[in-house]
Symmetry: C2
Subunit: 540 residues, 2 copies
Amino acid sequence: MGLLMQKNILFIMCDQLRFDYLSCYGHEHLHTPNVDALAAKGIRFNNAYAQSPICGPSRMSFYTGRYVRSHGSTWNCTPLRIGEPTLGDHLNAIGVRNVLLGKTHMRADREGMKRLGIDCESEIGLFNAECGFEVYERDDGLHPDAYQDACPRYNQYLNDNGFDGANPWQSWANSAKGESGELLSGWLMENADKPARIPDYYSETPYLTRRAMDFIDDANDTPWCLHLSYIKPHWPYMAPAPYHNMYNSTQVQAAIRSEEETQNTHPLLNAFMQHNYSQTCSRDDFRERVIPTYMGLIKQLDDQLGLLFAHLEKRGLNEDTMIVFTSDHGDYLGDHWLGDKELFHDAAVKIPLIIFDPSKDADGTRGHTSQQLVESIDLAPTFIEYMGGRIKKNVLEGHSLLPLLHGENKPLRRYAFSELDYASSYACIQLNMASTDARAVMVRDKQYKYIYVEGMRPLLFDLQQDPQELNDLGTSEKYQNICQRFEWAILKWSLKHHNRITLTDEQIETSRGNELDEGIFIGYWDQDEVNQAMSKAGKS
Amino acid sequence: MGLLMQKNILFIMCDQLRFDYLSCYGHEHLHTPNVDALAAKGIRFNNAYAQSPICGPSRMSFYTGRYVRSHGSTWNCTPLRIGEPTLGDHLNAIGVRNVLLGKTHMRADREGMKRLGIDCESEIGLFNAECGFEVYERDDGLHPDAYQDACPRYNQYLNDNGFDGANPWQSWANSAKGESGELLSGWLMENADKPARIPDYYSETPYLTRRAMDFIDDANDTPWCLHLSYIKPHWPYMAPAPYHNMYNSTQVQAAIRSEEETQNTHPLLNAFMQHNYSQTCSRDDFRERVIPTYMGLIKQLDDQLGLLFAHLEKRGLNEDTMIVFTSDHGDYLGDHWLGDKELFHDAAVKIPLIIFDPSKDADGTRGHTSQQLVESIDLAPTFIEYMGGRIKKNVLEGHSLLPLLHGENKPLRRYAFSELDYASSYACIQLNMASTDARAVMVRDKQYKYIYVEGMRPLLFDLQQDPQELNDLGTSEKYQNICQRFEWAILKWSLKHHNRITLTDEQIETSRGNELDEGIFIGYWDQDEVNQAMSKAGKS
């Protein structure tokens, strides 16, 4: 399993970037030429889904290659159980560095580590506490003053450059200045149209981009997978000039929603519609004042990616570096009368995904778009195979996309899944749902999206007839057979042995009949029967 | 959570003991007065089920309090993933020793331990490698000559007592002598009616019983849970005199099977019926020659339990020691044309379960029998609660039986589950089933037992009309609604967050809304909205 040449992977993730806020995905006014250029030399996936529409669980699936129900970190800040195998475990095993720059949202299982006597400060302890990453720089992106543990290197960087204060992330990068010089908090959406107090150059996205260049320049000959995990365009929605007013309300896409959606609304949707952020994001002034800034933050990202890709080329790394561009989930932005993410409309759960494979084998697919159903857990096996490793099928639950990148077009899967555990959400209280039952599962095939909601009726959308997902067919008699088919699909999926990770299928198959070798004879009457069994099993 | 007095638990498990091979469970000819006496002062459960009808997975569920799909050790010798919380973790946390004497069938996850830098020989390493037990003496019971790692203390004991040879377990305890002095192997059923070469006193069951007395006498004031895990009546079916011929074929219960079962047989059952041990156990000479020895081994167990209970009483421990008697699964013994275990007829998956709680609170239920649906995962929480600990509901998936022992009779559950992963079995090959799909799930309620079989039609038995499970209703149109109800029950059960073990529901509920305290404001337009939310959440 040695490597034929030094390959690298640049694994770029944005935070809360909607798939359709890129020009290559069809946005009319938000032009992202650098992302588009990557799509032009790679494959752009039109049906890629996050394993959960929330940061933490979605990322844990990216970083383990396993479904949320498998790794068990079902909500933000739910520790990832110690021992859960990570992408880093798989890559390190074949001599590849798995490097973090930016956000993971990882919460370590300190109780479990203590139980196993693992020192959190030891090399192995840190590796596991950081979700299998070698930390070049971690920054989870949210550093309110009240956070005791908020001390990103970025704050030191800002201080060093004359932006003073205990928490310049808050007071400079995510605040604006009022007419009388007062601070206007980036946390408050009414301020979204103001420029951040710092110039573009010093803001988070350019800073992380330059840090990525630093890593690339510092890296030795060991192959690496650099997870460049940007913080934006996740809220606080505040951009530095000129991005804060680069777009105006006439360039904001129309909201995807209908009055009908507010009638006989499914109880789960209804509960989330009551959340303050859903109400706020449903307002017209949100669209006019906040979304242009969201667009500006994306434009800033695209500009920075242009610089980064140029740097890679200058270093001559563009011929052996796989480049992946994606997001952990989307952002409702008021669509369907909802805000933030958490539920299963495409606005929240579908992700942009572009993969550039520099190898000759991929020349036949450059610029292609794929309609295949892709899950975020497909990236880990793709990276491992690209780096020359063997994929542990029982542990890694996705499929390598390499064959597809190399021109094969067999269907990857019939169904894609995503999961929600909303026990931590106010909706759980509003619905008077027991914490242990506050769950939903999305499954989609080529045509339909079905959502199983524990203790409630299901939701069903026909994505061919109703691509905007405005018409819930879950209660329609006519679709009961369809619903039943999806129930079965979920049943078969959920019954898989998601936890049988200590033996591979291959190991199980080769060990069949070993008891004979070991002299364990189960239910033989006499020696003749034993001898027959031995020869039948090709032993003796 | 301190202990009011020193309590202990004697957790007795037999290996492959059928629930109905005890007189208190209705056997006509096999009298087990000592087990019956325990039932007379405790509660005897008539509907207790193993989480899997196979040693390893069933035991891992007993020892973790978690379903097989949760702990992931789905077949014998499938390592239990490192970090999986065990009964020992829960008991040690409240100052109770969790002591092993006998069999666990545990296979350590050495690869996972290595990945986490855990030295298998360290205290924590050994504790985890031994499934959370402090090993007083481990003996998994099968020590054929070919086993390189076969060196039980029992062999040394036999050598010390004049039974020579490298493996006296095989050559003395599990062999008989032929007319011309030759060894007759206990592995071969044709020899089952011969007496083992050693006297009763030196055979495995009395040996382990005396070792239990040794532990009880040696134990200090620390409360203990002693898992006395007998090896018998598991095959090899060979008993010492007088137990080898204490019963005759006229005292063997009639086989539970019908000719109809061999017509249009369900493919999964049919595949297992083809196994050599099913064919052997279906023969009349098996019933006549082997089952009487199986009965003798159980009689020997009962005699030894009499001595053990007397010893407890002599030590004055009978007033503060909870005594549990059970088995890891049953034995088909030719019923339904099957041998050994593995499938879901009561002969294999139902277990005997008797619990004696010495406390006054249990006086009202002494001698009762319970029809409640009990799962083997209920024992761990029962032990923890008996010992004064708090039950981590997310981690422990069963229910404490203490309320029931103390007279409450609320239904524990509507459905009981058991699981099978037969990827390691020849049936998987015969059925040409992919290893990853070789699974089945049993669910039963008060009246029915439904078996979901991946890729095949289901099985359904009406246990009220057909207690012998001879009439499969799985294909009958009339029962399609019943089948659908059970499919839903499996779906709801399998979708539970079996892996969300790093946070308790309580922790999740109390942390709701913490983001406000931390200064993370999600989707607020202005400070007024923030203030309103703060006061609404009782903060500020």
